[in-house]
């Protein structure tokens, strides 16, 4: 290659890098714009919201305190986190047990059953919603924590995700454990479970996130104010104080911030989990 061509190549690469960065910066700005608007608006007085001014003259920190006075926001927080933690815990238990049976135990028809089970992920939520609602009425679990938690504690998705992690573990591991006299339970709890910690972490994040933001089921299940989760509480806030955009945005900021913290902590795990297990949507 002649020097002239290398210089031309370098220049072209430089140009490509500049263009790529320029485009990415623009797209990042488009992505962040609404978030920035949300934050700025949450500090405005109501009059400033209406005048579409760019920045608040005085940053109204008390908007945030006001949210807690207007609605039981702390209670909604508590409910959301409590329900999400329970669902996450139960999902991890039931899914890892089932995944173990599908990935590490040997039985006739195992893979066919697994495929069939996986296919049930396609069943739309609205089909099961009405009978489940009727069931909750019968069990007197309507408008209760248990009614929010228990139906969400099982499912094919977690089983699928953990099976993907478990199936990658070398089979010699449980064979040698079996030679040492370990039963399935010991193999599960002492050998496999510690090895799929990354998988469990991924499932835990997805489940927590999914439950924290879940809308459909809590909407039909919860009637009392003190049991509302955040999304339902936000909806209520909007219906009652919807004109107060600044307070609504303050509540939205507080709704989103815990998610951003979770994301910052768990980013690596999450990206790997999505690329390995593939999430719905």
């Amino acid at each position: 290659m002649t020097p002239a061509r290398t210089t031309a190549g370098k220049a072209r690469r430089m140009l490509a890098a500049v263009l790529t960065h320029g485009l990415l910066l623009l797209l990042a700005a488009l992505t962040l714009g609404p978030f920035l608007w949300m934050i700025v608006t949450s500090f405005k007085s109501l009059a400033e919201v209406d005048r579409t001014s760019s920045l608040p003259a005085v940053w109204q920190w008390r908007n945030y305190g006001q949210v807690f006075r207007e609605i039981a926001f702390a209670r909604y927080y508590f409910n959301s986190v409590l329900v999400a933690l329970w669902v996450t815990f139960l999902q991890c238990v039931t899914s890892s047990l089932a995944a173990f049976a599908f990935a590490r135990l040997k039985w006739r028809g195992r893979d066919s059953v697994f495929k069939l089970y996986l296919a049930t992920m396609m069943i739309p939520g609205v089909v099961t919603m009405i009978p489940n609602y009727a069931l909750m009425v019968k069990l007197h679990l309507l408008d209760s924590y248990a009614g929010l938690i228990v139906p969400a504690a099982f499912g094919a998705f977690g089983t699928f995700l953990l099976r993907q992690f478990m199936i990658g573990i070398h089979p010699a591991l449980d064979e040698s454990a079996a030679i040492d006299g370990a039963g399935p339970w010991t193999t599960y709890s002492q050998i496999i479970l510690p090895l799929v910690k990354p998988g469990l972490a991924t499932l835990a994040i997805f489940t927590f996130l999914g439950t924290y933001t879940s809308f459909f089921w809590p909407l039909v299940m919860i009637k009392s104010d003190h049991l509302r989760t955040l999304p339902i509480g936000m909806l209520y806030f909007d219906s009652v104080y919807g004109k107060q955009t600044n307070l609504l945005m303050a509540a939205s900021v507080m709704n989103v911030v815990p998610l951003i913290i979770v994301f910052a902590i768990a980013q690596k795990q999450l990206v790997r989990g999505i690329q390995l297990g593939a999430v719905k949507g």
Binding site: A17, T94, W107, G109, I123, I167, I169
Partner: protein
């Protein structure tokens, strides 16, 4: 497992499958099976699945053939196919089905955006992680809070979107009324499947589409494409380069075919999700309006069951939706199998 027609990411199917799967199929020297243990391990999950998914699905199928109505307790009759007949004649059903499809038009746009972003992120640029984090933020924080944010952004009078449009095109610019408007890009009349000139424009459905694309473009699809792009063999690209293929030709003839499994996966999952989608947007932002223009099938089922209390009819509609999804999935998995087999 390599030919599995199930919703797995291509990244997964490429993982080496270990010996475990083969042992059941071909009887090796070892006869050890763990049927009893398997039942114990499966029991918690499958019991829960049976109680909260399987039985409800069957129950709902049964309910679809009745006139079950919560306002008339104890007066439920088996009515055969009358719900289905009602549905086929129910103009609303077809309009809401069309709404659902309309809102799915965002899917190809969102997938194209995700692919574009993945191609940008795939280049070796500095700060890739920062860009990726920023772009992923909307899909990670999606939910009621962000919808309320967009409701404020779309506010026709004091929202920043229209403020920007007025700033760009002048105060007298006819800004869209967004969530309050029945206009749409196809000119569909509300409550009917007809096109009329005065409905051309931008309205609630476009607002929901825009919000949706903003939310998901940098989401999971983008991450899947980034992973898939990393798996395209560099030799292939180099070979095409040596043959004198330009960037577009390299993308069209080398990269794009290599991405086919990922595209297939995100399209199938997107369509399955889209057919049952639109509930949250309708419930939070528009109450299905104006004039039913943002009512999708899932929101319709919800209103029939929980506002009109016609549970039998709602079950029938939900089963029709299920069958549409199922039929779509079957066709696509067949096609997908044939394609990946070649």
């Amino acid at each position: 497992m390599t030919d599995t027609p199930l919703p797995e990411s291509p990244a997964v199917t490429r993982e080496p499958q270990t010996a475990g799967a083969g042992i059941v199929a071909k009887p090796s020297g070892r006869k050890r099976t763990d049927v009893r243990a398997a039942i114990m391990f499966l029991a918690p999950n499958l019991l829960g699945f049976a109680v909260f998914t399987l039985l409800p699905v069957l129950f709902s199928l049964g309910a679809a053939f009745t006139d079950w109505d919560l306002t008339r307790p104890g007066k439920t009759h088996f009515t055969g196919l009358s719900n289905l007949r009602h549905l086929l004649a129910d103009g609303n059903f077809w309009v809401y089905f069309a709404n659902t499809i309309y809102l799915m038009l965002g899917l190809p746009i969102a997938i194209a955006c995700s692919l574009g972003l993945a191609l940008l992120l795939h280049r070796e640029v500095r700060g890739v992680v920062v860009y990726r984090t920023v772009l992923y933020l909307p899909s990670f924080t999606a939910g009621v809070a962000l919808m309320l944010l967009w409701q404020a952004l779309f506010n026709p009078d004091i929202g920043p979107i229209n403020a920007m449009l007025r700033g760009l095109f002048g105060q007298s610019f006819p800004v869209p009324q967004w969530l309050g408007s029945m206009s749409n890009l196809l000119g569909l009349e509300p409550e009917r499947l007809h096109v009329a000139g005065k409905y051309f424009g931008i309205g609630a459905r476009e607002a929901i589409l825009l919000m949706g694309i903003w939310t998901v473009a940098g989401g999971n699809t983008m991450l899947l494409y980034v992973a898939a792009l990393g798996n395209v063999p560099a030799e292939l690209i180099e070979a095409a380069k040596l043959d004198g293929a330009g960037p577009w030709q390299r993308f069209r003839n080398v990269t794009w075919p290599q991405l086919a499994p990922t595209t297939f996966f995100v399209v199938v999952m997107g369509v399955i999700g889209g057919l049952q989608g639109g509930f949250e947007q309708a419930r939070v932002l528009t109450a299905g309006g104006p004039a039913g223009t943002t009512t999708t099938l899932s929101y319709y089922i919800y209103t029939v069951a929980f506002e009109r209390f016609e549970v039998g009819y709602a079950s029938a509609v939900s089963w029709v939706m299920f069958l549409i999804i199922f039929g779509f999935a079957m066709v696509y998995w067949k096609v997908g199998n044939r394609e990946t087999a070649i």
